[in-house]
């Protein structure tokens, strides 16, 4: 939470891939694994494209 440390704002692909697990683990500590809106103005195009859902199946890499 220290705002004085240099803020990391750029990632190489390797760095990003390596940090994915930490982001997922942190997000998973609060609430269900996936939070997806029940509805939105995009439903008309999303649901037919994703078997009634608003997006593809969640498949952590």
């Amino acid at each position: 939470m220290n705002s004085n440390r240099a803020l990391k704002t750029e990632w190489t692909w390797d760095e990003w891939q390596q940090s994915r697990a930490a982001r997922r683990a942190a997000a998973d500590k609060i609430g269900p694994a996936i939070v997806r809106r029940k509805e939105s103005s995009s439903d008309r195009r999303l649901r037919p494209a994703f078997k009634g859902e608003r997006g593809p199946d969640f498949n952590p890499a």
């Binding site: 705002s3 990003w16 982001r23 997006g55 952590p60």
Partner: protein
């Protein structure tokens, strides 16, 4: 990654795109909040002529348009000029397909907090805001908390009290139980 390819195609044509909204939250929370569309805004002031956008998206075999396309089974939306009050930079992820710029995580936090409480308290939006706060408090998504505080006090957001309360709530939930 689709966001990288789209960003590269537009960048090479002279327009810098930035991932915004819920799509940005997907990046920062690693898919905890996900949908089948990617929202971009244009950082470059010059508008993108619609015909030019269609021609650029044609390179990706996209269908639809002129502001919303289907590409590789997902939807790409181009929402217009970027609105970003943050002083911290957009985050950049250099993928093998092209660099992706994402709206500053500080903006993403404050926007999600705003959606959680206004126009009226919303459970789904609150859950998303809590996910975003969790990755930031954990340090997995680095943020400048002073900038979040500043943004939350701006009249454009005016959500400082709600955000601080939500931050404390998430911090309590993250604390290991004895």
């Amino acid at each position: 990654m689709l966001a990288g390819v789209v960003s590269r195609v537009f960048r090479e044509a002279g327009w810098e795109l930035v991932v915004v909204g819920g799509s940005a939250v997907e990046f920062y929370t690693e898919g905890a909040y996900m949908s089948g569309d990617i929202d971009f805004c244009r950082q470059t002031l010059t508008p993108i002529p619609l015909r030019r956008a269609q021609d650029l998206m044609a390179q990706l075999n996209a269908t639809g348009g002129p502001r919303s396309w289907k590409v590789a089974g997902l939807f790409v939306d181009l929402l217009g000029l970027l609105e970003n009050e943050a002083n911290t930079p957009c985050r950049t992820i250099t993928t093998p397909y092209g660099a992706i710029k994402v709206i500053p995580a500080e903006m993403a936090v404050v926007e999600r907090a705003l959606s959680a409480f206004y126009p009226k308290p919303d459970g789904e939006a609150k859950a998303v805001a809590k996910k975003m706060l969790a990755v930031c408090l954990d340090g997995a998504t680095p943020v400048d908390w002073n900038e979040i505080e500043r943004l939350s006090r701006l009249p454009a957001f005016n959500v400082q009290n709600e955000l601080n309360a939500l931050k404390e709530e998430v911090a309590r939930e993250l604390k290991p139980r004895a």
